[in-house]
């Protein structure tokens, strides 16, 4: 039984990888500028900051909860970075503070969800507005663009022969770390256990509330990391940073095969889904497809992603009624 489940999972990820390749080929057909190492390396930047958010969201979703306030947490982080930069504080000093603050904002979500047992959708919807308001309150309505160069390094520079963006390396490292945490540590196993059956997990002695608060805090901290990448990429910080990015993030998590009801999913799947979405976006951008159309495609992909289990169930239902072939021995 277990082996079959593993096989199915790898099937899903194989499909994502194949789709990514297909999207790459399709993009190469659409535009002659696609097959260029420089271009491809550059295009990865588009999904690094949503990717970091998606890794955080994945942990929360595995627990069976949701956090749609992450993009707003990112805005708080980027505005905080701008404040530190304005005070001429070095980035290595500012970074831990921002991580802690964003982690605290995440933990606050966690306390409201797990401690007070409020529905996570209502809580994070509320904090989505509240944190964005907070970002504006901290940073005022004016944007900040005079970042110190040390702040921009992670998001804008390239290393290894001027090809590999630093942000991409950061993303790879973070996804490896999150993958390790989720699949090879006690914390990760407990997350899956709670997401699969909360009551059974509680009976077996897992502190569900603490676990949830930790997961939310982790997601918040990752949003701070994403904020650093954002600051480097765009060189500006304002309260409306990453407004509306949550659609891309949720799409990546769902398309990556993470069950929205919790208990199922892999980090590899999420990363592959990010690559797929990034490739599609990049290809559409090169082919001069307008932003709104891209949004429609994204929304359509999200629906297809969540409808796939239903469609396959319908297909197997139909197959059930078809005349059966003799089973090979």
């Amino acid at each position: 039984m277990k082996r079959r489940w593993n096989w199915r999972l790898s099937q899903w990820e194989m499909m994502l990888a194949i789709l990514t390749l297909a999207a790459g080929v399709w993009s190469a057909q659409l535009s002659p500028y696609y097959l260029n190492l420089d271009q491809i390396a550059d295009s990865t930047r588009q999904f690094i900051f949503p990717g970091l958010l998606a890794l955080g969201l994945m942990i929360v979703v595995v627990l069976g909860e949701i956090d749609i306030s992450l993009a707003s947490t990112l805005a708080v982080g980027s505005v905080l970075f701008s404040k530190f930069s304005a005070c001429h504080v070095q980035v290595w000093f500012a970074f831990p503070i921002v991580i802690v603050v964003c982690g605290f904002l995440g933990a606050l979500n966690g306390v409201l969800v797990a401690g007070l047992r409020l529905p996570s959708l209502a809580v994070t919807l509320g904090t989505m507005g509240a944190y964005r308001g907070l970002a504006f309150i901290i940073g005022s309505e004016k944007g900040y663009t005079d970042f110190d160069d040390s702040y921009l390094w992670v998001g804008s520079e390239r290393v290894l022969g001027d090809i590999m963006p630093v942000s991409f390396i950061l993303f790879v490292i973070v996804s490896l770390v999150v993958g390790f945490i989720m699949h090879f540590t006690v914390f990760g196993r407990r997350c899956f256990a709670v997401g699969h059956n909360k009551d059974a997990a509680w009976f077996s002695g897992i502190k569900v509330q603490t676990l949830k608060i930790q997961a939310y805090a982790l997601a918040g901290a990752l949003a701070a990391l994403a904020a650093l990448v954002w600051v480097g990429q765009y060189g500006s910080a304002r309260g409306d940073n990453a407004d509306g990015a949550i659609l891309f993030v949720v799409t990546a998590v769902v398309l990556g095969g993470v069950d929205i009801n919790g208990g199922k999913g892999t980090v590899l799947g999420v990363v592959l889904a990010l690559f797929l979405l990034g490739t599609i976006r990049n290809g559409m951008g090169l082919a001069n497809i307008a932003g709104p159309t891209q949004t429609v495609v994204l929304g359509g992909l999200l629906i297809i992603g969540v409808l796939l289990p239903v469609l396959s169930a319908v297909a197997s239902h139909i197959r059930h009624f078809l005349p059966r072939r003799a089973t090979p021995k």
Binding site: R117, G126, F136, G239, T295
Partner: protein, 346 residues
């Protein structure tokens, strides 16, 4: 809250039903009290607040939001959520305004058109959630971007300006009935109609039943998928109507019309005592929640407080209202258990 706890102790003699009704009434009267307190604070802080003119402005601002909040409430009652309300309004508003601009002599069939478009959009949501078994947040998040994207694609960067719209459409929302704005009259009519439907018609009661206990409703023989579909369809219908009203009110219809309303409508519904976990709350409460939001907005503008504070307050109030709801829910459950034990002991 301790007052409530004390009252539950002698509740043994009172039938269970009236107790939960009492709690619900308490929740709605809590909203009214909150409205009163905010009104009092604002009227003390600024003299411009407590004028007839300002009151009618607040009511007009709350009117359209209260219809959308009612739509949101219907969906919330079935344990689902609809974050595509703003996009449904936007798409309906643009399509109807564009139709009206192309056919200058269009009459009341424009309203019918808006209702049909809204119904179709809402039904798509409902089909995805009820029959596609997609999580309601994911499904409507997707359709939110889909509907908004379609609006952009249809509009091609254009907008419908007010001089292209028929005169009657723009004038009808500015009419007044004994000094009450037409918009407010329409909203009161619509909300009362929906409230009556939910309270007194079997289909309306089924919406509550499905939300409060889906499993029990299946055992009872309700086809919950149909009920959820109906709730979404009804929500879409109301959103379409609200979109038309909004288009008539602002005059110039742009592609970003009513974006961000999913947040306001949810805030209004939750503040008004509609439970996010389904099955509890009233449409009238949601409409009152819209009035609360409009009052806070208006007061903040009069006090000259920056617009982003509104976001902060709106977000925090959603969390606070949800917390209050869960708190009351726990109290009710405990009280009911107490009753049961008392009855068994007797």
């Amino acid at each position: 809250m301790s007052v409530l706890a004390e009252k539950t102790t002698p509740a043994v003699a009172v039938p269970r039903r009236s107790f939960s009704e009492f709690a619900l009434r308490l929740r709605v009267s809590g909203v009214l009290a909150f409205l009163f307190i905010t009104g009092l604070i604002f009227s003390l802080l600024t003299p411009q607040f407590l004028t007839v003119q300002n009151a009618s402005a607040i009511a007009s601002n709350a009117a359209i939001l209260s219809i959308v909040a009612a739509a949101q409430a219907i969906v919330l009652l079935t344990r689902n959520v609809d974050v595509s309300v703003g996009s449904m309004m936007g798409l309906t508003a643009y399509l109807t305004a564009d139709y009206a601009a192309r056919h200058p002599n269009v009459g009341a069939e424009l309203v019918l058109l808006a209702l049909v478009i809204g119904l179709v959009l809402g039904t798509i949501n409902g089909l995805l959630v009820a029959y596609g078994r997609v999580s309601s947040l994911i499904a409507t998040l997707a359709t939110m971007s889909l509907y908004r994207g379609f609006t952009y694609m249809y509009a091609h960067g254009q907008e419908v300006t007010s001089n292209k719209l028929p005169r009657w459409m723009l004038h009808s929302v500015d009419l007044r009935f004994w000094g009450i704005p037409m918009l407010v009259v329409i909203c009161i009519l619509v909300v009362t109609l929906v409230a009556t439907f939910l309270r007194h018609y079997p289909i309306g009661r089924r919406i509550y039943a499905v939300g409060s206990n889906p499993l029990a409703s299946v055992f009872y023989g309700l086809r919950i998928q149909r009920v959820v579909l109906l709730a979404y369809g009804l929500g879409g219908l109301l959103c379409g109507f609200a979109g038309l009203l909004y288009a008539a009110r602002v005059g110039t219809v742009t592609v970003i019309l009513a974006s961000g309303w999913e947040m306001s409508s949810l805030a209004a519904a939750v503040i008004g005592g509609v439970s996010v976990t389904g099955g509890s709350g009233t449409v009238i409460g949601a409409a009152l929640g819209a009035l609360v939001l409009a009052t806070i907005d208006n007061g903040l503008v009069l006090l000259g407080i920056p617009e982003f504070w509104r976001m902060f307050i709106q977000g925090s109030s959603i969390v606070a209202a949800a917390a209050v709801d869960v708190f009351i829910g726990v109290r009710i459950r405990k009280a009911l258990q107490g009753q049961r034990f008392a009855r068994r002991a007797a």
